[in-house]
């Protein structure tokens, strides 16, 4: 080895390997008890802005509860999101700016709890564009299911149903492209058991003509060789959950509950 370049360090460049950054943060928490980490994404807006710094402390996981903002390992990265619930082995978490829950977080993957963050508030308001009148004539419901609704089930007036079969972990590529094309430029609601808001909390007062409703397919990114495609989470501007977080609900039941809630809301609101 030769003294070929002056000793220096690269201040502006973050550690390239996320895994290394996570290891350093864990080491820092072990040795110092508290660390400061930079916020890089927008998933926790408006609570945390990119460029903010968050102080993390070692958590007492037995005392963590809904509302706490925690840092946890996920796929080699460190994620800072808010707790919405827990069971014996996992936390249910989501970013304040996201409509879907994260995959369940194992308790041992939580490495820090954030201090000095804003109080827990749930976003109850639906995105404003969902109430705006859209150029389309119908509310289109995309039902991803092998089955059609039973005879006697009626959609609300002005709604029409498109039933497409599931494929593998989601839908086949042509169905994904068909839904993408239908959704382009229109308000879209995804109904899924992984949504942060329940149907009761988030149902807009009026489901405007042109709205696209997707029921029966998971949203997310899943790096796998399994067949089928999940729907991109950003396809829908609003995600709503029929039952308890993560409780599997079949597509037809979800459709019935969503349609019933929409009918109740719109009957009770001014025209």
């Amino acid at each position: 080895m030769s003294w070929s370049n002056k000793a220096s360090f690269e201040r502006a460049r973050p550690v390239r390997e996320q895994l290394t950054a996570v290891s350093l943060i864990e080491q820092g928490l072990r040795t110092c008890g508290a660390v400061t980490v930079p916020v890089t994404g927008d998933s926790m807006l408006p609570t945390l802005q990119p460029g903010d710094r968050v102080v993390l402390r070692r958590p007492d996981v037995t005392r963590l509860q809904a509302g706490d903002v925690v840092a946890f390992r996920m796929a080699g990265r460190l994620v800072i999101h808010r707790i919405h619930g827990r069971d014996r082995a996992h936390f249910i978490t989501a970013g304040d700016n996201l409509g879907l829950y994260d995959p369940p977080v194992a308790i041992e993957d939580v490495i820090g709890v954030a201090t000095d963050v804003l109080a827990f508030t749930r976003r109850a308001a639906a995105p404003t564009n969902l109430s705006d009148t859209c150029s389309g004539e119908w509310v289109d419901v995309w039902l991803i299911s092998h089955d059609h609704p039973a005879a006697g089930f009626d959609l609300p007036p002005g709604w029409r149903l498109h039933v497409r079969p599931p494929h593998g972990i989601g839908v086949a590529k042509p169905v994904l492209e068909e839904i993408r094309a239908a959704v382009a430029g229109k308000p879209c609601i995804g109904v899924t058991e992984h949504a942060v808001l329940t149907i009761a909390e988030g149902m807009p007062q009026r489901v405007a003509a042109g709205t696209q409703v997707i029921i029966g397919c998971s949203f997310g990114q899943f790096d796998t060789s399994l067949p089928g495609h999940l729907l991109p989470p950003k396809l829908a501007g609003l995600h709503l959950r029929p039952r308890a977080p993560g409780e599997p609900t079949d597509a037809l039941t979800s459709l019935r509950e969503f349609a019933a809630a929409a009918t109740r809301t719109q009957v009770g609101s001014p025209p």
Partner: protein
Amino acid sequence: MSWTVSDHVVWLETAEGIQLYDTTSGEFQTLNTTGSAVWRCLADSPDTDQLLGSLAAEFHATDDNHHRIIARDTKQFLDELVEQGILRTSPSGA
């Protein structure tokens, strides 16, 4: 004089070199190849004379000029780290 890593700084050696994390400021830094070599020697030999001796051996310093260059660059580098709060100094033997 000897050099000590500040209590609020943690570090790891990776394939890219030494990675530093200042737990107070939240800054991550990557040392280049030479900086990583200085850091490794410093971890073993925190005293300045020992450190420069280790570096001279590692980089096969063959003459006084080479020794002087290593000493000058190392001091400049370590002074910057002290300025940033990553290292602190103490008199030898302290």
